[in-house]
Amino acid sequence: MEGHIWIESEGLGKGSTAIFMVKIGSIPERLNESKLVFMPKVPPNHGPTAFPGLKVLVMDENGVSRKVTKGHLVHLGCDVTMVSSSEECLRVASNEHKIVFMDVCTPGMDGYEIAICMHEKFTKRHERPIIVALTGNTDKVTKESCMRVGMNGVILKPVSLDKMRSVLSDLLEHRVLFEAI
């Protein structure tokens, strides 16, 4: 079974533990190629990585989702402001914010309208933050609506740390990022 077995003990009279690792046949299909490896904690190599001091504004009505997104961005070095409503978003957005992430899949909250308002608030392109929609909806209508109101990008949730890193990188380089839906 391609495994190995060993015994651990704290000493005489303290008993022993037999530990074994074996490969077992029935692994769920999608994990066929995967390998889970136990590693001691080392600082991960972030590559081109971090974005120290990058000012980002995040609008998301959902508390858990907001905290996770913030966690990603803070881990990547960003200076993050969080808001939970469109009014707050418009009020708080400034030309210092390089990127604004908007969750647009909340019913009743019009992320599209905010994008239009942002264009009105920041008429000069170089002052306007890059506006990106975060959505759980994988339909063309959402994507087209975002493009129509002048958003610079659409990203599908949930977003992993690696994905967030490459999203930030792409956005800063190209100012545009529409994920294939």
Partner: protein
Amino acid sequence: MEVAQMQRRLVDYTKTLFMEFLGCSVLQLQQLQDESNPDFVVEVVSLFFDDSEKLLNDLSTALDQPNVDFKKVDAHVHQLKGSSSSIGAQRVKDACVTFRNFCEEQNIDATLRCLQQVKHEYYLVKNKLETLLRLEQQIMAAGGSIPMIEMGF
């Protein structure tokens, strides 16, 4: 129990969670924990618990009304779907998707059944997450650090 043993137990437990319940997200959340955010996992998970339980209560109340406001029900389920998706609770999320479909149909019986299903999935994942947190806390209390778990694809 030695730190190394606890770490091994945590790794094994995390792997189980990965395979059965949470996908990559449980590993993701641990990745976000660092010196500047030392309690991230506990905070997010606790927030998820608080939010979800409130939403489940609101849902029970909303479905208990003589004239059910399905828009309100749908709004609550949407929030729960969002939270569970963010934290990687796939089965809760899937149950929410089904729930929302029946909300659209305004089907009382089906939505009540969905609520039970969502609650069931939620308590399952809550139990798993609490165990995970406990294992992590044991390690930290013993002076160890949470091991990084790498996925090799």
